[in-house]
Subunit: 329 residues, 2 copies
Amino acid sequence: MRIAIDAMGGDHAPGLIVAGALEAAREWPDTELLLVGDPAAIEPLLGEGKPANVKVVEAAEVIRPEDEPVRAVRRKKGASMVVAGRLVKEKEADAMLSAGNTGALMATGLLVVGRLEGIERPALAPMMPTMDDIGVLALDLGANMDAKPEHLLQYAIMGSLYRAKVHGMDQPRVGLLNVGTEAKKGNETMKAAYDLLSEAPIHFIGNVESRDVLNRNCDVLICDGFAGNIMLKAMEGAAGTIFTALKDAFGQSIMTKLAAAIMLPRLKALKKKMDYKEHGGAPLLGLNGLVVKCHGSSDIVAVKNAVRQARIAIQNKLVESIAAEINGK
Amino acid sequence: MRIAIDAMGGDHAPGLIVAGALEAAREWPDTELLLVGDPAAIEPLLGEGKPANVKVVEAAEVIRPEDEPVRAVRRKKGASMVVAGRLVKEKEADAMLSAGNTGALMATGLLVVGRLEGIERPALAPMMPTMDDIGVLALDLGANMDAKPEHLLQYAIMGSLYRAKVHGMDQPRVGLLNVGTEAKKGNETMKAAYDLLSEAPIHFIGNVESRDVLNRNCDVLICDGFAGNIMLKAMEGAAGTIFTALKDAFGQSIMTKLAAAIMLPRLKALKKKMDYKEHGGAPLLGLNGLVVKCHGSSDIVAVKNAVRQARIAIQNKLVESIAAEINGK
């Protein structure tokens, strides 16, 4: 199998992206990794003894974090992200990864890779952290601001297949983010989505509440992007505020500083557990090929993990399964 | 002025409700307090030396927490809450307070007290806690599930007047809960609401994010009830999860138990600061009279504070100001 990697996207590109790709290439010799970007920047990083399964694909331009996504994808046809997308589109690669501009990657997915037939809205599906470290796959957290019930139905099917095929879950529990757990709750969109999800070929457990997400009240969380984004930021804000207040409280006297010294490793572990950014690559589902968004701050381990994730998805025919399920309906 | 108090609603009714009313009556002899409920239950609680400004108004029935709100209000015409609402409707009282069933109180507001002319949706406006202890007035956090831009405009005007008239704020900052602070963010409803709020006679500071609410990024937070409810529960859930995890971490060894002993008062203070329930009565705005929802667990202090709040609102002609502003448009 072949995986294209946008070597120029992300805070630590190309250095740690290339280094992560080299580690992945050594671990999985059956997988060809196409490093897309400026050869003059990439080749010196490959060093001696470059694995035979690493290739460089030239791309002259780069999409910057501050670029307006759709325009950048349309105009910079030679950008590393766009070239990687084209490799997927033309079946030269089975998947692509990028730690670059999220909006531009979504535009690359839509405009370059293309939607699967029957899919109305592709969805970015990041993992939200949970206290048991397993996480919840959320679709979506801010891409689709005016989600229709039919979009939410497709998110549920795609997310459920991803959890099954890539995370090996037997019967992933799909929950609908709502204001109460009873049926008939929420706005008109959610009431209609509830009915659609109840009839879908998934393990739908009904409405779930934002207060229980950290305790993994479901495995796949279906939300409209507007409310999902507000939920995510509310959780981040509450956690950040509490940790700041704790820091202040621990600094108040010699005794509290002693308490801080004792508690520090545990507090750090808790903070890390709740960090949204720690949780790997997010697939962009519903495209005619696999696209994985890596966090902007991705390092060697993150790139390697994203390659691992893409390999599993390819081996288990994730995209084909989504196509079959959506079009079999 | 006269304030009707539903003596039978709330977890501690009638005991602490009546006790709170007695304290308020002694503090403000110019205010007549009408205790609405079963005289056989209320009168023994009044004791000797009942203040002259306390009266009992008979009501034979009670609306229970588990009652279906609209049906209960329609059928139990003799319920203490409904009778108190009727006193406001008939101008026998300037305001009413209840710690009973929230949905039933909203139904009492709509069906018994009645909407102000020109108001499309009355809104319950609770205070959300902030780290500086001042709080944010939020409209609304779960009553109106399919808010229209015009509803949000009216919420902004009513909330702004409440902060000015009752909390004495000079230029309350009104923020629109959204997924980013820039203009043109969010779903179609929020984009339209942004334009309406920009032209309203308020100090509109634009879009605000859920992550900053605890740091009081505005004084009046305008949200659609669906997203607002999800935000509130996400914050509660994150805080609850962190405090539980801290408790576990503090219990792990003798040393961490020592740290816990040092930190306990500070942690308790922090937890209390973030407790949504600690923050007083919530006005139901947009009605033809003042209705204040007290928390179900209201005690003597809470009832007295709610009377104080109602007095200020009456003295400063809150309802008349809202009517003038809405109908002057």
